[in-house]
């Protein structure tokens, strides 16, 4: 078990780098506590798998340092780092039984067979694999195989961290949530640092205490699921998290006033500076309501999801989505919108203005 620290980490797959786009990840700083559950969330190609492989030691970073418990381990190999990793698709040793698969990492470390037996049975019990221990691993279903991969990560009781690289990609939807809650339960039981990479916001938000959102090789925000939802620090976090995502509208800043579509609106922050190339206002659909005055819009369509209604409207400078209660009456034609002040933020060049 260990505290994981990343300092000024950058990595490029190219030999020489001329622009920001040549870097797979750039300038990443992270502090993760011992025993926490963390998620790296971002779309495909944002650098999250690269970052994970750097932590596990499969890739050596171009710049920066990785520390486990304040010891620099940037140049150590995965065995020396003593970590476990679970991959996107199940990696099993086809010719071995389930038991031998689980025992493999221990046998490679020359642990006495007695101890291995106890440990394997304990893990198999946790993962509900006990009844299949003597079967050939290649005969199992995808979720069974992924459990074996997971089990191989868990059998070693001294690992510094367990990494998950989108481990539920190949699992059937109805089994996904079972395995996900299993993971959560395991984390509480064994209390080891777990780092989970995914592009699925539900997975990240349900699994982790702290979610790191990545975008184009950079960390855009680190926080609890509630933080990410209620106070996105970057417009990307706003529309990547939430369904539908945050509404982002262009705005003008005049003095202390924020103007959207010619109307002055109130936002969470006090605006002090306004020297940005681009200024925007962001507000989640959950925090918008119909009103007698405010931003004028045209109601385009209403879709009822059962739990609530999603209303599509069009303002002068862009579309705005609103989430309304399922029993609420939706005006047709022209309407006015009111944004909830506490949850409305102003963004300068995509970053929140503090």
């Amino acid at each position: 078990m260990a505290k994981v620290t990343l300092k000024g980490l950058s990595h490029s797959y190219l030999k020489t780098q001329s622009s920001d786009a040549d870097w797979a990840i750039r300038g990443v700083d992270i502090d993760w506590n011992d025993g926490g559950a963390y998620a790296l969330l971002g779309p495909s190609g944002c650098g999250k798998t690269t970052l994970l492989n750097i932590i596990s030691g499969l890739i050596t970073p171009t710049k920066g340092d990785i520390l486990f418990d304040d010891k620099v381990i940037s140049r150590l190999n995965p065995v020396e780092r003593n970590i476990a990793q679970i991959f996107q698709f199940p990696v099993i040793y086809d010719t071995m039984t389930v038991y031998d698969n689980l025992a493999f990492p221990l046998r490679n470390r020359k642990i006495p067979e007695e101890e291995i037996k106890a440990k394997v049975h304990e893990i198999a019990e946790m993962l509900e694999l006990s009844s299949t221990l003597n079967n050939r691993a290649s005969g199992l279903t995808a979720d069974g195989k992924q459990k074996i991969s997971l089990g191989r990560g868990l059998v070693r009781s001294d690992v510094n961290a367990i990494m998950f690289d989108e481990p539920l990609t190949v699992i059937d939807p109805h089994l996904k949530w079972i395995l996900r809650s299993k993971l959560k339960e395991l984390h509480q039981k064994i209390n080891r640092t777990m780092i989970y990479v995914t592009h699925d916001q539900t997975e990240a938000l349900t699994f982790a205490d702290q979610v790191v959102v990545m975008h184009e090789g950079q960390i855009v925000q680190t926080g609890t699921p509630v933080d990410l939802f209620e106070k996105p620090k970057h417009t990307f976090v706003g529309y990547f998290i939430g369904s539908p995502g945050m509404n982002v509208l262009p705005c003008q800043i005049k003095g202390n006033d924020v103007i959207v579509n010619g109307k002055k609106i109130e936002t969470h922050q006090q605006i002090k500076k306004s020297n940005f190339n681009k200024t925007e206002v962001g507000v989640r659909p959950e925090f918008i309501s119909f009103s007698n005055e405010g931003i004028p819009v045209k109601v385009l369509s209403v879709s009822n999801t059962g739990r609530h209604k999603i209303v599509d409207t069009e303002s002068e400078t862009g579309k705005i989505k609103i989430i309304a209660k399922s029993n609420e009456d939706i005006p047709s034609g022209s309407a006015f919108l009111k944004f909830k002040k506490e949850y409305t933020y102003t963004y300068g060049d995509s970053w929140i203005i503090e």
Binding site: V79, M96, N108
Partner: protein, 288 residues
């Protein structure tokens, strides 16, 4: 899964069936014809029943050439399969080295059989051939035209040179298809190089290796041109493998009946060995 049943699809097989009939089934039937009858030419045939089969099965000459054939095939499989895997493992995985190696590896496969035989014949000549002369200069008493051991050594070396590449290319393809995550997982699990080879690489190469062994078994079991050009089956009958012996019997002695019976027995041995081998290799596959 529910598959659509459409018996009309069989009509599409007819052209292939006709072609195969002309180049394989009909010629084979003439062999069958000869195998059960005696002929004195002029299309006059007499029924002999299973006489030729009994004669071949009891003939010491057939036993000897069959024995030589199995020995040869086992030796070359024993050398070529491990050697091929070993070369494939050491081949580069990226960069300019990949095409260079692949082209170099394919070269022997592109040379016609009789040219290979002729090349090696000259190469191994004890007085002027590079191999033969060098060996003699080094103090070995080497003469593949007169000494049985040397003849076998040269024939096997020639076959290894000619065909190991096939095993290399198939193994290389099998190795390249293994997902990097397997190696990464093994690295994290602390697996040794040997464990990576036996627990990941070999099992993942199983299918291509099955194909490689089958192809090398069939080809080496039916080998004719190369040893015919290299040694002509000699010295004596030392390198007269089944095909060479068969041609001697059919075209040298003109014993068409026994030769036809021998061809059929030969054919069934190849078929049987391939079937048994393939079934054994694939049995576990179906279980899982």
């Amino acid at each position: 899964m529910n598959k659509t049943v459409n018996q009309k699809a069989w009509f599409f097989v007819i052209p292939v069936f006709v072609l195969v009939a002309f180049n394989a089934i009909i010629p084979l039937m003439t062999v069958v014809n000869y195998a059960f009858q005696e002929t004195f030419g002029n299309n006059v045939f007499m029924w002999e029943g299973t006489r030729w089969f009994k004669q071949i099965m009891l003939s010491e000459r057939f036993h000897a050439s069959l024995g030589r054939q199995f020995l040869f095939t086992f030796i070359i499989l024993f050398i070529q399969i491990p050697l091929g895997i070993a070369i494939a493992l050491t081949m580069p995985k990226e960069g300019i080295g990949v095409p260079v190696c692949l082209v170099l590896m394919s070269m022997p496969l592109l040379i016609p059989w009789n040219v290979v035989g002729a090349m090696w014949n000259i190469f191994a000549l004890p007085d002027i051939g590079f191999l033969g002369h060098s060996l003699n200069a080094l103090g070995f008493d080497y003469n593949f035209t007169q000494q049985i051991g040397d003849a076998w050594f040269t024939t096997i070396l020639m076959d290894v040179w000619h065909w190991t590449s096939l095993v290399v290319l198939l193994s290389y393809a099998g190795l390249r298809s293994i997902q990097p995550a397997y190696y990464q997982a093994a690295e994290i699990d602390g697996a040794s190089r040997w464990a990576i080879f036996t627990k990941i690489e070999l099992p993942k190469m199983k299918k291509v290796l099955t194909i490689a062994i089958l192809l090398r078994f069939m080809d080496s079991f039916m080998i004719y041109t190369e040893p015919f050009v290299l040694t002509g089956g000699g010295p004596g009958n030392a390198t007269a493998f089944l095909s060479i012996d068969l041609v001697k019997m059919a075209l040298g002695q003109f014993d068409l009946g026994p030769a036809a019976a021998m061809s059929l027995i030969y054919f069934f041995i190849v078929l049987l060995v391939c079937w048994v081998f393939y079934t054994l290799m694939m049995r576990n596959e179906e279980k899982s």
